[in-house]
Symmetry: C2
Subunit: 226 residues, 2 copies
DNA sequence: ACAAATATAATAGTAATACTATCAATATCG
DNA sequence: CGATATTGATAGTATTACTATTATATTTGT
């Protein structure tokens, strides 16, 4: 059961930051500045020095909010998973059919993000682009087990669990609900990256969103829907 | 058509290295030492200083072979794609049925690597573990377009193309052959990583290799095979 | 066998990064 | 209005990611 949380940031684990960035103007400027700068220069070239220059603050001030850039990226990624949870909840509300709810959720998980609407300190379009390219770095590192113990991946796990439970409504004996969901979520990011940078690794068709079409078709084939 | 290359390294683009590591003892020690050290401490903590200490050489000597650790990881990843190409070729030789060839290839692409057999300077088991955790970093970076122009991802593209062509033999109208293949290759890596570090994002079943079973079933469902 | 070329080791040095520490200025809060 | 917390300014350290130089060892060509 997906629960709607009006405050997306409230699900973010406290240990990922030293001081909650949403409690001050500087904190919010750190978030918006990071999204701006990191989407431009990428995670590797991103430094707290460059960030502080770009928002007219200082390195030391930023270190009061986040231990390092890795945790800052983790924060943004947690925010993104939490935001996707919310989006999925909205898209399934008041819909009876499990099949239809699943389809809506897969669309929500895989479609491009085109509008930057609700949050003054988070540009959702640019955050989505950062997530596509950089998010796997939050777990593809040696501190993954430590971070996992702290609960840094909980919003991701909850999201996968919520979608997996819809799958089990449709086929209670299906063997790989979590695998199928995480393959689709990660896969959609990969395919959008490939479409942009390594097109021979994917397939694009004129005038349609192949990524979403592919994954919707894939899950229906796998679950024998229609 | 998959062509069998007896020399896997011969497909590796020259621009990824400054001096071919296979032309000297030191070069081979750089490769084997990197696989050893990087599988232990991870890409981020890996430095040329630590590597040179571990193989009793010097930083400057290693810089004569590779510009930086990123290109060294790229070399190993290219080697891995090329090795998979070879593995797929072996597994499809003399098999008539397209369906059977596809199944064998999907198994080859997704199964765990358990034996370190053929190469004295490459430990295939440890290389596979490095690829699972680190390989996406070779393209998830700002120099991806430059590296792509140099041809650093050609062995990957050829691998995807070879499998895609089997899919088209089975269903010449199938719309997403490359997307399906790259989703499976990347997905298998992700699922193995999740099984090890974030098990709630995947599904494991006692005594069987769920990852391979899942992806074989997935491609058969999608292509309506059986 | 020996000169010439090449590869490696040893060492030094630089600019940038990833932090930590200190203290002054400023805003806020009771 | 005084106390407290926040930020800015500045400085400093260890490590990293390289480049450069020279000496020594090894290989190669004749």
């Amino acid at each position: 059961m997906i629960v709607i949380h009006s405050n997306i940031a409230s699900k973010i684990n406290e240990k990922v930051y030293k001081k909650d960035p949403l409690t001050s103007d500087l904190g919010k400027k750190i978030l918006s500045g990071t999204i701006e700068l990191m989407s431009e220069i990428g995670f590797e070239d991103f430094t707290f020095k460059k960030l502080s220059d770009s928002i007219a603050s200082t390195e030391a001030s930023i270190y009061r909010y986040f231990e390092n850039k890795h945790n800052l990226l983790t924060y943004l990624t947690m925010w993104y998973w939490s935001w996707l949870q919310h989006k999925c909840a909205i898209k399934t509300i008041n819909i009876e059919s499990s099949e239809k709810r699943l389809e809506n959720v897969i669309i929500a998980l895989t479609e491009p993000v085109l509008l930057d609407e609700q949050f003054d300190y988070i540009n959702e379009v640019k955050l989505h682009l950062i997530v596509i390219t950089e998010s796997s770095k939050v777990y593809h590192c040696k501190k993954v087990d430590r971070d996992n113990k702290e609960g840094f991946f909980l919003t991701y796990k909850e999201l996968v669990e919520a979608v997996a439970s819809i799958i089990l409504e449709i086929d209670k004996d299906y063997q790989y609900p979590h695998m199928l969901v995480s393959t689709i979520i990660e896969g959609a990011h990969h395919q959008r990256f490939f479409a942009e940078h390594l097109p021979r690794l994917t397939d694009t068709h004129e005038g349609v969103d192949s990524v979403t079409l592919f994954f919707v078709q894939l899950i229906k084939s796998e679950l024998k829907i229609d």
